[in-house]
Amino acid sequence: MSKVLPATCLAGVVTCEGLPVPGVTILSEGLGQSSGLLILEEDSKTYVATNSTDIDGLLSQVTLALTDVANCLENLDNSGFWIAESSPKPPVLGPTITSIRTEISNLNIIKGALK
């Protein structure tokens, strides 16, 4: 038999039910803040981080960055900025911006489908 309990980990310290649990084998780096599961089996203690929260956070950051890029490009494109008279006259980045926004939508779909 084993017992699985919700736990958190930060800087190698696993906390369960508000108490630090020493001597836990951490099956990840365990440095950054994470939530996960503490698995107890007699006096054996193992912590497994649930990496879906990490991936969720990563996807959120990527989505935000891409949104900033798309907004920036859109602003520049609509401001009529161009280098020389011979350069193509803006707005010219419409397809690129649309493509980025599609990627953002795709990332949000993946984020929503995380298991």
């Binding site: 038999m1 108490l19 649990v21 107890l40 007699e42 006096d43």
Partner: protein
């Protein structure tokens, strides 16, 4: 006759006859409660199957993080159930001497129940025993003791 298994200071009664628990309750003035497939004292009902060091377990702060049956957790934390206090206590607080005598092929207790943690004639702590409670004679017949 009702089987009584004391494991590392934890009590588990296994009634055989229909009146075993009721008669025991009447004789002892307490109420045994059902816990899974046995009966036990109220303070030993509903104990978790794990302890976290520093967290409360049965009213005491656990000293060890451990997963297992309540009696395993009591062993790991050096606890026993106190018949006097009606609660789990550190086994080091039990200083009584067990009153048992050998009768042919088994032991008979001089008290109704033997307090786990009490000392044998050789000075060892009795932590577990396998016994039968004779409700007709209100006495305990003990097959064997264990010091762990």
């Amino acid at each position: 006759m009702m089987k009584l298994l004391v494991r590392h200071g934890h009590f588990a009664f296994f009634p055989d006859g229909a009146s075993d628990v009721a008669r025991f309750n009447a004789l002892q003035g307490i109420t045994l409660e059902r816990e899974g497939d046995f009966y036990t004292f109220p303070a030993l009902v509903g104990l978790k199957d794990y302890s976290i060091a520093g967290g409360l377990y049965g009213g005491l702060a656990a000293t060890k993080t451990f997963e297992g049956n309540p009696w395993d957790i009591m062993r790991e934390n050096n606890w026993v159930y106190s018949l006097l206090a009606g609660a789990i206590v550190p086994k080091s607080t039990i200083i009584t001497k067990a009153s048992v005598k050998l009768v042919t092929f088994y032991f008979v207790s001089g008290t109704t129940l033997v307090q786990p943690g009490s000392l044998s004639d050789t000075g060892e702590q009795i932590l577990s025993y396998d016994s039968l409670f004779d409700d007709r004679a209100n006495r305990l017949l003990i097959r064997e003791f264990s010091y762990e």
